[in-house]
Amino acid sequence: MLRTCLLGSLALAHAFSFSSPRCGGGRHESVLLSLAPSPAPLAPTPPSDPWFSASLASRPPPRVASLAAAREGAASLLAAAARPRRKDEAWRRTDLSALFAAQLALPSGEVAAAALEEEMEVSAGARLVLVDGAVSEELTDLSALPEGVLVGSVGSMDAVASARVMKQLETIPEADADKRTELGAYTFAALNQASLADVACIYLPPDVEVSQPLFVFMLSSGSTSGLGASHPNLVVNLDRGSSLSLVQSYSASKAADSDYFTNALTRVTLGPDSRLRHSYLQEQGLGAFHIDSVFVDVQESARYESQMVSTGARISRLNVGVSLTGSGASCQVQGLALGAETQLVDFHTFIRHASPDCQSSQEQRNAVADRARVVFRGAVVVPRGADNTTANQLCRTLLLSDTSRADIAPTLEIATDDVKCTHGATIADLDDEMIFYLQARGLGRLEARSLLLEGWARTFMSQVPSEAARRRAAVKASLLAPETGERVVRLQQLTSI
């Protein structure tokens, strides 16, 4: 399919056209815009999918005028886009019919004081707050950041920084990705950019190390007239040799308001020799829909380390695409999915060794109880020429009830010889031998299971620089402990006999 549409960039005061072979054979994450001026700019056509039309009708106005062109460019892409369906490989295990049945609405924007309470102290001086996708100057406090570090709305950036970000917005991720292997980011990314209220930007100049963790809170609110929808967009650029610990946190703007839709898009570019520790906390209200795509470009000798935690939302889908694009780049990608009741927690990831001499390690931990479901589809891609690659992937799942479900699909695509790659997946309940050890020290079975799950979550969270977040994850994990009905102790797993 070939599509022609209009995307403008006010920063460059220029209109571009580009074509996007949507079903190209290669595995490309983004489509680059042609810089050639369009001879005859076409007016955007409304989306053919009524849900997208309705969604665009209820999108918030742009807080920053310069975003108008990016919005319209993306809106015109939506004209030809089809909503993800179960027959798409990327969405096969994720039923979004409840989302598509909802009428999107403008969120109320109300924020309860308690929303940030637990992290006010730890984030003092390095806190960027977005409410429904727009930077809130009132709640933001960036007083402790070193000089030269730029954090805030794209509207508050200088011309150079602003132009850099606008340039990045010109690409919609996965526009021409292979349908068989894509993360499934494209459509919702286009919807995000078509609905931009603001863009949050983080820029570190060369050789700057920010010692204090930087917190970015993405608060979402609901609506009384439909499903409140917000579209936060974050762009992180670390220049050569800089280093940052970033905590990106999603939650409800007030506890009573737990039904809403957050459709986020996150782009991270790590310049040569830079380093990012990325704590990603999805702790949305339990009635919420959460969809986010995080794309990370790790350049020469840069390092990306992430702890990505998904514990909230009724349905959450996190796409994580890490590309190691420079020699010596490395990443450690860790995910934690905790699902209870009827939650669906979905992680789709790829790590792409686009350059030789790169290392990656990935560990995914899932725990799922009650009637909840967890999906993990993780690809490690080593194309031809990516020699001297080391890639390790491990997915461990705790299936804690007879009615919970885990769909796990680790994949390795290796097209070169000089590689060291491992991958593995395990699915089990908690080790009865561990439970018995704790029972033999006086703890009841339920207490023992709670303690084990807490510990399991805590070991994962040890790198997240917020005790409150570590505690919340431990509490959530311990809630998965109760066993439904009579369960049979699996004798074969008892190792201490």
Binding site: M434, R441, G442, L443, E447, L491, S496
Partner: protein, 291 residues
């Protein structure tokens, strides 16, 4: 052997000892006020004709043993004779099914009727042959939880973290463990010897009435063995009972048993004094299979 029927359905068997005459006294120390000789202490554990199986394989085929307060019993025997199974059954390991016999604890309580955690709370302790590693849970938190469970069952107030820190420091030095271990995850990355010391530390903290040590000496170097033995000897008193499961006479040089039992094919086939262990050390288990 005397059989005393206490209540309908309850039968107590005391191997080689007369029945005690002070059942009704409420606390162990009160009993011992009138009863100073270890060998004539109250019955703490009475195992009668205990049979157990795992996966339908019969492992214990009628075990009898009676442990009185103040006594140390050593159980020896060839590999696969059922020693560890006996210890696991006594603390309620779910993999084993008790198919016959009975176990009474203290004043006639049916031990097999209690959940594993209740047995622990009531003062039955097993030092594991293979202690389990638990990541993400600090040793200090774990030990405090366990101690508070025991204290709760004894009607004592729970320790808060600061109080407990003091208690812990004292006990740790008594088993030769550095305070570095309190913030490490339970047994995680501990050497074999450190895990065993951690078990003895738990015993010292929990102050059980009945301690069963399942091959606590295996895998220990001679210095660690002495430290562990010193910990056990410090714990030992006239009111508690100890069951040592071991393969080696060496441990018994440091912890003097009152009785040595030899297990074979799921039964105790010989019982005697400490000299029996020396005999085994010299002649092995030949006598079990006379040619």
């Amino acid at each position: 052997m005397a059989v005393v029927s206490l209540l309908p359905g309850w039968a107590m068997v005391f191997v080689g000892q007369p029945a005690p005459s002070h059942w009704t006294l409420p606390r162990p120390h009160a009993r011992f006020a009138a009863n100073v000789h270890m060998a004539t202490g109250d019955v703490l554990l009475n195992v009668k004709n205990l049979q157990a199986s795992v996966d339908d394989n019969s492992i214990l085929k009628g075990v009898n043993i009676c442990v009185r307060r103040g006594e140390v019993h050593a159980i020896m025997g060839p590999n696969g004779s059922g020693k560890s199974t006996l210890s696991k059954v006594l603390v309620g390991h779910p993999a084993y099914e008790v198919t016959g016999g009975e176990v009474t604890y203290r004043e006639g309580e049916d031990l097999l009727d209690l959940a594993p955690e209740e047995r622990a709370q009531q003062g039955v302790f097993l030092a594991f042959q293979y202690p389990v590693e638990i990541s993400g849970v600090s040793n200090a938190d774990f030990l405090r939880l366990a101690v508070n469970k025991r204290r709760g069952a004894l009607g004592e107030s729970e320790y808060d973290p600061i109080e407990f820190f003091g208690v812990l420091g004292e006990k740790m030095s008594s088993v030769g463990m550095s305070m570095d271990f309190i913030n490490r995850d339970v047994n995680s990355g501990f050497s074999g010897g450190e895990k065993k010391r951690n078990e003895i530390l738990q015993m010292a903290l929990l102050e059980p009435e009945l301690a069963i040590l399942d091959e606590t000496d295996s895998g220990l170097d001679i210095d660690a063995l002495k430290t562990v033995a010193a910990g056990v000897n410090a714990y030992k008193n006239d009111e508690n009972g100890i069951v040592l499961i071991t393969h080696y006479q060496r441990l018994l040089d440091y912890i003097k048993p009152d009785f040595v039992h030899i297990m074979s094919k799921g039964q105790i086939v010989r019982s005697g004094g400490p000299e029996l262990a020396l005999e085994l050390e010299k002649d092995g288990y030949k006598f079990l299979n006379p040619v």
